[in-house]
Structures are given as C-alpha cells and as structure tokens.
C-alpha cells in the first residue's frame, strides 16, 4: 500500500538502460525485414495476412511499451489508452461488409 502510494506520486519511475532501447531497435529491424520477405513469398492469403498482422502488432507493442514507456507507467493509464482502441475492430467490422456489398452490386450480382 505504501509502495503503491509512492508510485502514485510518480516519484520512483524506473528508466530502462540504453541497452534495452538498442535491443528494441534491433528487434524492430528484424521484424520489418521478416515482414518484407513474407510479403515477397508465395503463400495463402489468410496465412500471409495473419503473419503480417501479428508482426505489426508485435512492432506496435515494442514501440508503445518501450519507446513510449507504457511498460513503465501505471496500469490504469495503459487501460485508458488501450481499451478504447478495441472500438477500431468494431469500426472495421462495420464498414467491411458495406464495401463487400458495393462490390457485389458493381458486379451486378
């Protein structure tokens, strides 16, 4: 409890060492290169999409977590920032069927 109260004042925020930043940077390069070559390879669209989306989410997690320090902030801030983004899934789910039906009407089906 006392420790939590201390954290709430924001006085004892740990700063990661430079080594961590360089490791994250290396991982970002690696993931981008992998994504580039996955794109050039021939494979089923579903597998490719799943791989590319997971790589994008991993990169986003690394950038937000380490470069933007989210891993070292209070969990309440993380919830406030991440929870609303779930609505974006709803947005995509809402507009994609519309695009699909426009395509069907364009093709005269």
């Amino acid at each position: 409890m006392a420790h939590e109260a201390e954290m709430a004042e924001g006085s004892s925020k740990p700063h990661p060492p430079v080594k961590i930043y360089l490791q994250v940077l290396f991982l970002l390069f690696l993931l981008s290169t992998v994504a580039y070559f996955i794109d050039l390879m021939q494979m089923a669209m579903v597998i490719k999409a799943l791989l590319l989306i997971s790589i994008a989410l991993m990169k986003a997690g690394l950038i937000a977590g380490y470069f933007m320090h989210l891993r070292f902030e209070r969990i309440t801030l993380v919830y406030v920032l991440v929870a609303p983004l779930i609505l974006l899934i709803g947005l995509v789910a809402a507009v994609m069927p519309d695009g699909r039906s426009v395509l069907l009407s364009r093709l005269g089906l």
């Binding site: 109260a5 954290m7 940077l25 390069f29 994008a56 947005l91 507009v95 994609m96 519309d98």
Partner: protein
C-alpha cells in the same frame, strides 16, 4: 485483494490516478484521438478496397528501378528503416534528457530531425514519381481511382504528421539548447515530443502493413 488495493491506491482520491503530469496525459489523449483518425482512414481504405473488383499490386507500383532491375517496395523498405532509426535516436534523446545531459539531448534531437527530413524527401520522391506516371487523387492509371485516393490521403496525412513532428522537434531542440529544461529541472518537454514522434512511427507500422504489404 491485490487488485483492490491497487484500485484504491489509484482512485481513492487525493492523487493523480495515472501518476503522470498533465502535459504527458494530454499528449497521450491527443495520441489516442489521432489513432482514431488514422484508424478511420485505414478502415475507409479497407472498405474501398473491398468494394473494388481489382486493386493494383503494391509491390509493382512501388518498385524501384535500379540498373535494369526492379526491386519491389525497395523505397518503402528504406523509408521504414529511416523511420525506425529516427525512433531510436528519439528514444536516446529522451534517455539523455532523463540524465539532464543537454548536449546529447540536442544532438540526438537534431539526428531525429535529419532522419525525419530524409523520410520526407523519400516521400516527396515517391509522390512525384507516381504523379509523373499519372497517379492522381482521383485517378489511377489502369486501376480503380480509389487506389490513388487512398494512397495520397493516407500517406499525405502521415507525411503531414512527420512534417509537424519535425517542426515540433526543432522547437524542442532550440528550447533544450537554450537551457530552458535545465532551468525547470525537468526534460519532460523532450519526453512528450518523443511520445508524438514514436506515435508517428507506430502509425507507419500499420500503413506499411495494410497499404504496402497487403
């Protein structure tokens, strides 16, 4: 019980529930709203692409022609590399700010600005190349006009964020150089600018994935 204690410690009143300064909280909320703007643009792109019978192959449209050979998406890969590098130098600038190292903070900020300008140069080259080939906001040679609309809107919006970021960082670098953050005893101005810059990189991850790779 642990969760309850944390909740009470954070929300029972008398202290900031997020344990960050107002400036940082406001920057985070701005970033959240900006994430929705880009989310809206990308969702719109998804719907437009789903409604088009054909879509140009991005790895061909954005291929770079060097020495009689086509390299698919090479320029975009270089741009991604530059932006990740700039995020790295920005992280180092923020890190130098924590240890109140004025000289290094300014140095890394300048490096970040230069990388940002290089990115913008690459984008200017890409735009003028495509415009030269007949791509317009309302027209795609041999393809649905939605492609041109999505390309110029999304990359233009992102590019204007990079440009704003370069100006923002230049202001911060001048302020850091003048010793304003030393006087205040806090380099938080650098940290908040860093949040914005990393966000611009974060958005590029999704534009790179959904617009260029898919």
């Amino acid at each position: 019980m642990k969760a309850e204690e944390t909740l009470q410690a954070a929300w029972s009143g008398g202290r900031s529930p997020f344990a960050v300064s107002w400036g940082k909280l406001m920057m985070w909320l701005f970033i959240l709203s900006d994430a929705f703007t880009f989310g809206g643009l990308l969702a719109g792109y998804g719907a437009l692409r789903a409604s088009s019978p054909t879509w140009p192959d991005a790895s061909k449209v954005f291929a770079l022609h060097i020495g009689g050979q086509d390299f698919p998406l090479l320029l975009i890969a270089i741009m991604t590399f530059i932006l990740i590098c700039s995020s790295g130098t920005m992280a180092l600038a923020v890190h130098s700010g924590y240890s109140r190292d004025k000289k290094r903070t300014v140095l890394y900020l300048v490096a970040t600005i230069l990388l940002g300008l290089t990115f913008l140069g690459c984008q200017a080259y890409e735009w003028s190349k495509l415009i030269g080939e007949g791509y317009r906001l309302w027209h795609t040679p041999g393809g649905p006009p939605q492609f041109g609309a999505c390309f110029f809107t999304i990359t233009g919006f992102h590019g204007s964020h990079v440009l704003s970021g370069v100006i923002y960082l230049a202001v911060i670098a001048v302020r850091a150089g003048r010793g304003i953050y030393d006087q205040r005893g806090s380099y938080e101005g650098v940290e908040n600018a860093g949040l914005y810059w990393h966000f611009v990189d974060l958005v590029w991850v999704f534009i790179f994935t959904f617009f260029y790779l898919f």
